[in-house]
Every structure is written in structure tokens, then in C-alpha cells.
């Protein structure tokens, strides 16, 4: 178990990220139950919250379950939190839309962390649209300090109006550190216990129709509330130019136009119509500055307020002060130097990563690789280039199966689905059921590295431990697949590329569903980092012919040393040899994947008999 922090530990002014501030906010709000599925940029909220005393925090298998757990906790009378990245809310959208009907007992806040610019995401959706579509209020803080306060305010609104509440951050709120002042811990008004309220909690059509009416009444009240909500505020300045803005965009506006009048919206849904109209009537030139969709703009235009927005402000990617200034004034920023052409430095699979072995083997098949999301998506990059599709978590199996149905028997041996262990637990299991149930012959490779690598090594149901470090049951993936009805389930060591290739070839040709589980822990897990039996590899320089076979792995530890015309001969190589490979001992992790790839037996264990 990890050590817990109690309140007296946390005092005064702290430098916290938005996510750390949200965790502190949840603690101060007296949140009792918090559930989440990791996803950048939301992950650190629960990672921090689990260290506070008196809070139960967990990783759920996916966001839908996380929201259901939080909703259940709210039904049970306590303040509850669910956090997720923007696309996670797609997964949790089903409970969200009906939770808006049931309302809550204990306060319920759902944090959605959007990722404009797609720093670590597959799309750039604007989740403010969910607040409108699901008819729930949404708060949008601009920095860490507001994040903490808004979360606490969120619980009060949730309870007062009997509604779940969305709190939206973006990457630059979630991951920017700023000053936060610790505050007092609240004691929530509701008490835990069972209270049966079927007309509120059982959404049969007859009940739901009544709640539907309540929902509209609640929105009316919230609209009124928004008019006087202190976090919707006007900062009067020069009235020639005025801005309506929220979240991080507010900070860019203040930076770019410190003298202008600003209406800062702390609540982006519902909007304070009278306040907006009043503000607009005093301003000569009104701009709405917001990242991504014209959400505020659209809604205030619908109020009949004339403004400018996405006609000048980009709808794609993040904003910054310079973009805001240039979009509006046309004035160029202070850039002095043009960027120079230098080698790119894309992210890469780590040295020793087990994914490299399996994807190298897969790349030999020449098959269509229906991929999924995780560290292993990096196998799509050169030199492995071993992934042909990646859409959303869990999609690999369904898309592979769909292609198979489209093409028919001819596709046998030509398509393979690849999915990580955490992703399989998240939403891959149902895809597997689909393949078996509908008589497919899909081959599914499950990459069991014992962790959720991409988001920073969170345990998952197949790991054997929980968020707070307790030992728990481990889902047996092999037995699970067999129970679903897959007859051919094989486990391989992906570091052994030859064996892996052989098994892959056999299974992909099989006219029945099959699963290959690659079992090898992520090298960044503490137990792997600490291991003492690591044996590093080296390349015997004199044996290297410069054929570059080893470079096809794309291992960061294997470095190509180019040779100038004269040099090769001097070093005893054939005159035409363009260079040689060497292994950087600082980076080598000793996985041994590279050794068998060298036909000239130049790659050997460092300090071993063959060196």
C-alpha cells in the first residue's frame, strides 16, 4: 500500500499542475469515491488523489465503468468523481446522458480533459458539445488555482441542482503548473446509506418522461444561476474592443490585449444570456476567443448577439497569445529566427521494448495490421511500419473482423489484429466475443506487457495490483479467451523473434479464431529496471558488414556509424562499406532481439565467450 497524506501535510501556497490541483480540490471537497481510466492529459488527477487519506480512488477497466461507479457512489450518498480524457467521454457517454435524468444524491463531477493540438490523442474533439447535448452544466477553469476552486464549486452546484456536472480542462490547464493555495476541507451535507428513489433512479420510460421535464426546469434554473455566478465576470477596460472567452483562452486574451474589456465565463454551459447581451451592448467590436469549435460563438449568435470569432481565430489546434493578437490585429509577432531543417526526434519504442519483437515479426507477414492504441502504435512509424489502421481503443478486433467479412475467404492469412493488454481489458473483450460468435477466423495478438504503458504505467485488471498498490486478482487473459470460445490460444515470448514469427505464421493461416498472447513485461516497470541479470549486447566491429539488417528493428541502442570513402579501408573493411553498426551500452537493455537478425554473428553478449 502506498503512504497516505492527511490534511495537515498540505498547507499554504503550492506549485501544482491543474491535475494535482484537481486532486487537492477533490480532497478538500470531501470526495469519497473516485474512479477513472487513465488517459493523457487527465491521468495525474487520480494518481495524486490516491495518496490522500479518506478517499477511495481506483482505475476502472474503462471510462464507462468509471462513470457508473462514480454515479453509484453518488446514489450511495457521497461526493464522487470520474475523470477521463476527452475521447474517454465518448465511451462514458451512455451513462452520462441518462445520469442527467436521474440526477444525484451526493455531488457528482466528471472531469473531461481535452487535448487541443492532439499532443497525445487521436482526435481533437471539443467536449463542451457534450455539456450541451447531455444537458448538464459545465465549468471551465483557466489555470491550476481555478481548477481546484471550480471543482469545489462544482460539487455545490451538482448537489444544489441535483445534476451531474462536467468540468473541462485542456492540456494547458491540466499540465501547466501554477500557484495554488490549500484551503479548508468541507464536510458534505449528504450521508452515505441506501435510499430507494425509484421514480428518480429507475429510468423506465414512464419515469424518464417525468425526469425529462425536470431536466428542462433544472436548465432554466441553471441559466438564472449563471447570470449571478461570480465566476462569470466582467473585467471592464477599453470598450472599443471586448472579448468573451473562457478557460485557457482567457489567459491568452489577457496577455495579448491587457487593456481590453473581457467577459470571462467560468461556466460555459448554460450561458448567462442577459450578462452577455449587456456586455455586448457596451462594446464596439466584440470577439469570442475560444479553442476548437465555435461553441460560445454559436450559442451567443443564436441569442442574436453579433460578434466575430472563428472567421478570424483558428478552429484547429491550440491558441496562444501571439495567434490571438495576430488574428485580430493582423500584426506579426516578434519572431526573429526561422526554424532550421534538422533531424526529427519522434517518440520511439524504448530499447528492450517487447513490442519491437512482435512487430518486427508481424512486419515479415506482409499482412494488413489492424492496430489499436498504446505504446505499440509507435510501431506504425519507420522502420517497423507495421500498423495499417488505428482508430480508437478496442477497434482493432472489430475492424479486422469487418475487413474479413468484406473480403471473404481470400482474406485468410492476410489480416491480423493487434491490441495491448490494457486496451483488451478496456474494450477488446467484446470484439473477441464478436469474432467467435459470428464465426470469424480473425487472428488477434494481445500484447501482455503487464501494464498500461503509454499513459505512464498504471496497473490494469491483468496486472495483479490496484491504483493504491494493493495486490488484487489478475485476469487470466488466456483462460478468458478460451472461455469466450477461442480454441487456439498460444503464448509466446516476443523477444524470441524466430519463435514468434513461426507461431504467427501458423495461426494467421488457421480458418478459425485464434489468439496469440505475447508475454514480456514493459522494461520501464520498476522490477525490470532493477533486475540484476541483465546481459548487454555488443557488435564485434570487425564482423559487421554494414548490411543494416539490425537497423530494421529501429532500436535506439543500435547506432549506424557512417564511413567516409577512405575510412572503410583504413578500418579493415571492404572499400565500398558505407558504415557499420554499434550498440550504445548506455541504452542497451539486453533484450537480445537483435542478435539472431545478424547473419554474420557480429552481435554477441558483451563480455561473453564470443566477444
Amino acid at each position: 500500500m502506498k503512504k497516505k497524506r492527511s490534511h495537515p501535510d498540505i498547507k499554504g501556497s503550492l506549485l501544482l499542475s491543474g491535475n494535482e490541483a484537481l486532486a487537492l480540490g477533490a480532497f478538500e471537497a470531501g470526495v469519497k469515491v473516485a474512479s477513472a481510466y487513465p488517459g493523457t492529459p487527465s491521468t495525474e488527477i487520480l494518481e495524486t488523489l490516491c495518496s490522500y487519506e479518506g478517499v477511495y480512488a481506483e482505475w476502472a477497466p474503462n471510462e464507462k465503468v468509471a462513470l457508473e461507479v462514480a454515479l453509484g457512489a453518488s446514489f450511495g450518498g457521497v461526493r464522487a468523481l470520474a475523470t477521463m480524457k476527452h475521447v474517454g467521454l465518448n465511451v462514458a457517454a451512455d451513462p452520462l446522458f441518462t445520469a442527467a435524468y436521474t440526477g444525484v444524491r451526493g455531488g457528482l463531477v466528471i472531469v473531461t480533459a481535452d487535448d487541443p493540438e492532439m499532443h497525445s490523442s487521436q482526435n481533437e474533439q471539443d467536449n463542451r458539445n457534450y455539456a450541451y447535448a447531455a444537458k448538464v452544466p459545465m465549468l471551465e477553469p483557466a489555470d491550476a488555482s481555478e481548477a481546484k476552486e471550480f471543482l469545489k464549486i462544482g460539487y455545490r452546484i451538482s448537489e444544489e441542482f441535483d445534476t451531474p456536472l462536467l468540468l473541462r480542462t485542456t492540456t494547458r490547464v491540466a499540465h501547466v503548473k501554477g500557484m495554488v493555495t490549500a484551503g479548508a476541507k468541507e464536510v458534505p451535507a449528504t450521508v452515505p446509506g441506501i435510499e430507494k428513489m425509484p421514480e428518480k433512479f429507475v429510468m423506465l420510460p414512464s419515469n424518464a418522461r417525468k425526469r425529462r421535464v425536470e431536466l428542462e426546469k433544472r436548465m432554466m434554473k441553471l441559466r438564472e444561476f449563471a447570470e449571478a455566478f461570480p465566476e462569470n465576470r466582467i473585467e471592464w477596460g477599453d470598450k472599443k474592443r471586448g472579448f468573451i472567452t473562457s478557460g485557457i483562452s482567457y489567459l491568452y486574451v489577457k496577455e495579448a490585449f491587457p487593456e481590453a474589456s473581457v467577459l470571462k465565463l467560468g461556466m460555459v454551459h448554460p450561458l448567462p444570456e442577459r450578462m452577455i447581451k449587456g456586455f455586448a451592448s457596451e462594446i464596439d467590436e466584440l470577439y469570442v476567443v475560444e479553442e476548437l469549435d465555435p461553441f460560445i460563438e454559436m450559442h451567443i449568435k443564436a441569442m442574436g448577439v453579433d460578434c466575430r470569432g472563428k472567421d478570424v481565430i483558428p478552429a484547429i489546434g491550440e491558441l496562444n497569445a501571439e495567434i490571438v493578437r495576430r488574428s485580430i490585429t493582423g500584426k506579426k509577432g516578434g519572431q526573429v529566427f526561422e526554424p532550421v531543417q534538422i533531424p526529427m526526434r519522434p517518440p520511439n519504442l524504448c530499447p528492450g521494448c517487447p513490442h519491437r519483437g512482435i512487430f518486427y515479426a508481424i512486419s515479415k507477414l506482409g499482412a494488413f495490421v489492424a492496430g489499436d492504441i498504446g505504446c505499440y502504435t509507435l510501431a506504425a512509424l519507420k522502420p517497423l511500419s507495421a500498423m495499417d489502421s488505428c482508430v480508437c481503443m478496442g477497434a482493432s478486433i472489430g475492424t479486422a473482423f469487418g475487413m474479413e467479412k468484406a473480403i471473404g475467404k481470400e482474406s485468410l492469412g492476410k489480416i491480423v489484429a493487434v491490441i495491448g493488454d490494457s486496451t483488451f481489458m478496456h474494450s477488446g473483450i467484446t470484439g473477441m466475443v464478436e469474432v467467435v460468435y459470428n464465426r470469424g477466423f480473425t487472428t488477434v495478438v494481445i500484447l501482455d506487457n503487464r501494464t498500461t504503458g503509454m499513459t505512464g504505467h498504471q496497473p490494469n485488471p491483468a496486472t495483479g495490483s490496484t491504483l493504491s498498490g494493493e495486490i488484487s486478482a489478475t485476469v487470466d487473459i488466456e483462460a478468458l479467451c478460451r472461455a469466450i470460445g477461442v480454441k487456439h490460444v498460444r503464448t509466446v515470448n516476443p523477444h524470441n523473434i524466430e519463435e514468434t514469427e513461426k507461431v504467427l505464421k501458423e495461426e494467421i493461416e488457421r480458418p478459425e479464431p485464434s489468439v496469440i498472447i505475447t508475454k514480456a513485461p514493459c522494461v520501464l516497470l520498476p522490477e525490470m529496471k532493477k533486475r540484476k541479470d541483465k546481459r548487454l549486447y555488443t557488435i564485434i566491429a570487425s564482423k559487421c558488414t554494414g548490411c543494416k539488417s539490425c537497423l530494421k528493428l529501429g532500436c535506439p541502442a543500435i547506432e549506424w556509424v557512417p564511413l567516409a570513402a577512405e575510412e572503410a579501408k583504413k578500418l579493415g573493411y571492404k572499400e565500398k562499406q558505407k558504415g557499420y553498426s554499434r550498440i550504445n551500452p548506455v541504452l542497451c537493455d539486453g533484450c537480445g532481439q537483435c542478435a539472431p537478425l545478424c547473419r554474420f554473428k557480429a552481435i554477441v553478449i558483451s563480455g561473453g565467450d564470443n566477444e
Binding site: S13, L15, T40, P41, T43, E44, H119, S120, D143, T171, R172, H175, V176, K177, G178, M179, I248, L251, Y252, K254, E255, P258, N320, A321, E322, G333, G334, Q335, V336, F337, E338, P339, V340, I342, P343, M344, R345, P346, P347, N348, L349, C350, C375, L378, K382, P383, M454, T455, G456, K548, L551, G554, P556, I558, E559, W560, P562, G579
Partner: protein, 206 residues
């Protein structure tokens, strides 16, 4: 409005940039400034290029440094010092760790590592402060203290007392490695101090 100080830290995932920027932030807070620090987690950490923006002043709004406005740039890797060039202005003090970490296109032989990184910087009239942080860290007995050497190096350009830096280093690193980290910091500071006559603008004052 008083000026906001802009420090850009860049390098390769895993080099300890986040801790270094964390220490610099704490120091500036102790010195009485408002601080905002921006970094990106997730995808960026898998050996990719990493950048952190640190802004400080009386009141900081935007967490992002604008192009052409960095006061100090600290590059933890040689090549990376060129990647963020648009953020520099003529007066930017560019501290460069001369350590090379080969990016994938170079190690796989598809691209070549430019031979003239420092010259490219200098030819643009920038004030460049090269420092072999890896070997300095090694000489104090801890190769992982590269980031502390660089914190020491950049400390020369901030008008904050050395004592405050050392206090924060003490707070931030575990007891066991405190002494080597202090040494690494002081060594980095000393080496850049020695280049002082060459420093044009002196301290950066927001």
C-alpha cells in the same frame, strides 16, 4: 505592466528536464515571483523531443512563451538547441549541453547529425554558453545529475541568490544524493561564471 521572464528548457525525454524546471520554478517562487510552467506529458516522453516553458514575473497570464521572446534557453542536448530557434531573440542566453543523443533517423542511418550546431547558433549572433554537463556530472560522481549541472549553469543569469537555489536543491533531492547534486549545481554555476566577461546583458530582470 512589468515584463515577464521567459525560460525555455528543452532536450530529450528522460533527461530530467521536468525536475530541473521544477527546481527553477520553486526558486523563483521563493524569490517572490508568480510562476507558470508548461510541459506536455504522454506521447512526448518516449524518447521524443521535450520542451518546458517557464514564465515568471509579478503576475503571469499565458503559460506559453511566444516566438522571439525567450530570455534564457537551456538545451539539455546539443541538437535540440536548434529545434526551438523561433523562440529565441537576439539577446537570448543559450546554455547548451554539448552531449549528443542520436535521434532515430540518425541512429538508423537515414539522416545525419549536423556537425555545426554551435556555429549555427553563433552565426545568428546568439550568446551561446556550451557546457559538457554529462562529463561534469560524471566528475562529481553521478551521471544522472546532468540536469543539476544545467540548473547551476542557468542560475548565473537569474538575479536570485545562490543560497535559495541550494535550499531548493536540498528540498528536492533525497538525502543520499544531496551532496553530489549540490556539487553538480555549483560546478555548472562556476563554469558559466567563468565565461562571465563574455556575457553581454548580465542578469535577466523581469
Amino acid at each position: 505592466m512589468s515584463k515577464t521572464g521567459n525560460i525555455l528548457l528543452c532536450g530529450v525525454g528522460g533527461q530530467g528536464i521536468l525536475l530541473a524546471s521544477e527546481i527553477a520554478s520553486s526558486v523563483l517562487i521563493k524569490a517572490g515571483f508568480d510562476v507558470k510552467k508548461s510541459e506536455v506529458h504522454g506521447m512526448a516522453q518516449r524518447g521524443g523531443s521535450v520542451v518546458a516553458h517557464l514564465r515568471y514575473g509579478k503576475k503571469v497570464y499565458s503559460p506559453l512563451i511566444e516566438f522571439g521572446s525567450a530570455d534564457i534557453a537551456v538545451s539539455f542536448e546539443l541538437l535540440e538547441s536548434l529545434r526551438y530557434l523561433p523562440y529565441y531573440r537576439k539577446e537570448t542566453k543559450v546554455v547548451v549541453n554539448t552531449q549528443k543523443i542520436l535521434p532515430a533517423p540518425v541512429s538508423t542511418g537515414v539522416d545525419t547529425y549536423p556537425a555545426d550546431v554551435l556555429e549555427q547558433l553563433k552565426s545568428r549572433g546568439l550568446e551561446v554558453f556550451p557546457i559538457d554537463a554529462f562529463n561534469i556530472a560524471k566528475s562529481v560522481g553521478e551521471t544522472r545529475a546532468v540536469n543539476m549541472v544545467l540548473v547551476g549553469a542557468m542560475s548565473v543569469f537569474l538575479s536570485v541568490d545562490e543560497k535559495i537555489f541550494l535550499e531548493v536543491v536540498d528540498e528536492r533531492v533525497p538525502e543520499k544524493v544531496r551532496q553530489v547534486n549540490r556539487q553538480a549545481f555549483l560546478k555548472g554555476r562556476e563554469i558559466i561564471e567563468a565565461m562571465r566577461p563574455a556575457i553581454k546583458g548580465g542578469k535577466v530582470q523581469p
